[in-house]
Symmetry: C2
């Protein structure tokens, strides 16, 4: 393997200066077309590729975003997996790379933030799974490090002027759509199986179901609360909760759930006659033919880059912190 070509090699071979070669790659419009083509040809011939570290050293940007690879919990671990995929794919288009780092807990994650930014390994971060009073976001803001969260800033009066850019999926809209669709099909006693309150995402999803039910279905059908179930995000717990409700005389036409895990557990008890809708469209619900709400992860990734980089080619500390709330889509099976 011969020594890799450098910008100087290309310059010599094309009879131009280093800077011109650099310009052909980074600012083609300032180079005269004839020159540009000649240099481009030499670049192709020599198979020249700029040395990433040298470029990063000089430009002081790594073109890399860091993201924590969290421990997989349960069935929905696949969501992070797919989000990662979307990020990597979109990043490729924008010439950005994705660097993974491990972290056991938020404090650990903050230590990694420090490590990776001090070492200029990354330009910014993508934070997942935000929660109330998240120490990570405040730390990053204090240190003027660019980042975007997948997950809205919980516990804020007005989400429109959040202190940082965020993308999220409107779980409420998702459950509203699922419920409305079932109502339109004639189902009336549509139950909801979610997580115990308070839970940011969980309460949002419950509200989507409630809104849809209150508007149409429950005229004359009292006891919406009896159809409102909750338990931990666990298959067995879900089965148990649904079975117990039935035992107490609650009848379901259909059931919408806050997660695929819950939907899976519920569908064991309810059988195939009663439609169940999950959330996250994980491979399991796909395999079992259970309907599910799918998050538009490709769009989430795209929006994350958009918020972090804007139209420019580089990650910047956003002055006006925008946000995006995306609509999920129900996959009916």
């Amino acid at each position: 393997m011969p020594r890799a070509a450098t910008v100087a090699d290309v310059a010599a071979a094309a009879g131009v200066s280093r800077q011109t070669v650099s310009n052909v790659l980074n600012a083609p419009d300032v180079v005269r077309p004839a020159t540009r083509e000649r240099v481009a040809r030499v670049i192709a011939e020599l198979g020249y590729r700029p040395h990433a570290s040298a470029r990063r050293l000089r430009t002081r940007q790594s073109s890399t975003l860091g993201i924590r690879l969290s421990q997989v919990h349960g069935i929905s671990g696949a969501v992070l997996d797919r989000f990662l995929h979307a990020l990597v794919e979109h990043g490729d288009r924008r010439d950005m790379r994705i660097l993974l780092f491990p972290a056991a807990d938020p404090d650990d994650e903050i230590r990694q933030f420090a490590r990776l930014t001090d070492g200029a390994d990354v330009d910014g971060f993508v934070i997942t799974g935000t929660f109330h009073d998240d120490p990570r976001t405040s730390w990053l803001r204090e240190h003027n490090i660019p980042f975007v969260t997948f997950g809205r800033p919980w516990g804020l009066a007005d989400m429109d002027d959040a202190p940082h850019p965020w993308v999220d999926v409107d779980g409420r809209a998702g459950l509203h759509e699922a419920t409305s669709h079932l109502l339109a099909q004639g189902y009336r006693r549509i139950g909801f199986l979610g997580w115990p309150s308070p839970s940011g995402q969980g309460d949002e999803r419950r509200r989507g179901w409630r809104d849809a039910m209150a508007r149409d279905a429950m005229r004359g059908v009292p006891g919406l609360d009896r159809l409102d179930l909750a338990c931990q995000d666990d298959v067995t717990a879900a089965s148990g909760t649904v079975a117990a409700a039935r035992q107490q005389g609650v009848e379901f036409d259909a059931l919408v759930c806050a997660s695929d895990t819950l939907a899976l557990g519920a569908s064991f008890v309810l059988g195939t006659g009663i439609p169940v809708v999950g959330y996250d469209n994980t491979p399991v619900t796909d395999a079992l033919g259970i309907s599910s709400v799918e998050q538009p992860l490709a769009e989430v990734a795209s929006a994350a880059f958009e918020l972090l980089m804007g139209p420019t080619g580089r990650v910047v500390l956003p002055s006006a912190t925008g946000h995006r709330l995306l609509r999920p889509q129900v996959i009916w099976r």
Copy 2:
């Protein structure tokens, strides 16, 4: 945010030269203890962290491994996810980072190899999902790029002198153990549900079952072939195949499968009375209480680094290409 401290800042503050600071970090033993401690104190005070790109430029190594983030297919996507996790975690200990890249197919992946090595983004690669006549491994060898595969080099007479380092999990041993254990519990008519031959991993797993059955159980029970089923890796197909076999009069005491997907499909048909064992221990089988063969992914990751870096702290082109075949473990539920 003030300008980050550099090695020169530390040197000035500690009253030593740049090189001494560098040595404190990279070769502490050549520095006199008193000096070392003084410099270390200054480093801590200033919060100095070496600039990763500068270091990489100078040392000509990126301390980064590339790994393709493949499209998730079905339930077993979680395996790559967990492997990734193990890699990142082990990498952290060895001061190695993991860079993800997208690729649609092997040729695409090879293009990315070229891109990432030419740009000196990575020192080497971890290749997953090897197959017969894999063009990726030959390309990497031709270009003298360090790599290790998770998956043995299929279609080789003697695996002991493979042309490249590899790690794999002994699926045969896994199914042998699962089958033997069931035999010991008194089950006799233990079926196998796998993939159509030829399939590297699939045939290995089948062989594990066959070996165990041939030794103990089938003395006097003819028709091992009738218990040997195969279909695509799909839940519905699995259910159908098992149902069809039963229809034809095949009776099962128990069933061992080549994947969790197959196990899931089979368990629908077989119900809870007949033990089913899957492969990969994905969250689904965990959630449903189905036994499964678990791959020791943490050990795979550790072995991958070991093969690629040896005892040294850097990735080298291995002269003697070693390998590791690890035993999986059956998780009984």
